[in-house]
Symmetry: D2
Subunit: 88 residues, 4 copies
Amino acid sequence: MKPETKDECLKRLSYIEGHVDGVRRMVQQDKYCVDILKQTYAVRKAIEKLELLMLGSHMDTCVVPGIRDGREEQIVGELMELYKLADN
Amino acid sequence: MKPETKDECLKRLSYIEGHVDGVRRMVQQDKYCVDILKQTYAVRKAIEKLELLMLGSHMDTCVVPGIRDGREEQIVGELMELYKLADN
Amino acid sequence: MKPETKDECLKRLSYIEGHVDGVRRMVQQDKYCVDILKQTYAVRKAIEKLELLMLGSHMDTCVVPGIRDGREEQIVGELMELYKLADN
Amino acid sequence: MKPETKDECLKRLSYIEGHVDGVRRMVQQDKYCVDILKQTYAVRKAIEKLELLMLGSHMDTCVVPGIRDGREEQIVGELMELYKLADN
């Protein structure tokens, strides 16, 4: 991962950790289930955005050089696995 | 939320917090992007399972009594909103 | 299903059938894979919108009366099953 | 697309067309909404599987040669767009 992508990922992970902590406090304080669920969906969306950032970086630093180096079988296999996971 | 559901939610949230912390350490230690992405997908799946637990509890403690009390417009509106969020 | 919802569902299904037919022609004519995939995603989105329409109708015609009639176990069980399917 | 992938895609599209037709008949015959919704989810799953087949073929016939030919900007841009669509 490029240093600037790594920094951005760590910043987003701090935000996600704070968000999950907020969900825990809502549960402890017996907040309305529907309001808690809206927050857990927002956490999942924030994780999806983090994944797109990491995936974009993976394309540049691993996929392109890996395919040029003749390791396309491994690289394509990993990309297909990630698509299947994202779809589920 | 029933006390036993609340306890179960808090237990799962602790697990999710630990999992997100593990992702942060993987990023800090420059682990392979594909391995990190598999972990972020697992975090999302764990959140989805937590949501199903909370939703099931919401059905029993809010949806059923709310509809019996004549507040079906609010209750159905919230359920539809949650479906739309889950689908995206 | 209310008659106007049924009509709207059938209209949307005709549109979806036409869209799937368009995808088949693209495959037959060897169109670029990425362009075909964008169309299959659009078909899935159109189906999701149809599902929300049917689900909203189901709430009014089955969920609310069913819960009032004391069949909450069946009704809630079905709603939870649909949420799980939507999430996957 | 390789000829055998094209044949397989067309076979699956015929199956999907038949499935959508079955959904239309269920709506016309006023079948239970929950049963219809389970079928529309099944159609979406069948489309997702078709997408994975087309994407795997796209990797071999376009992604790998495109990156070797120096068109990585276009190829990676398209892959990222498809990921974003799949995620939503």
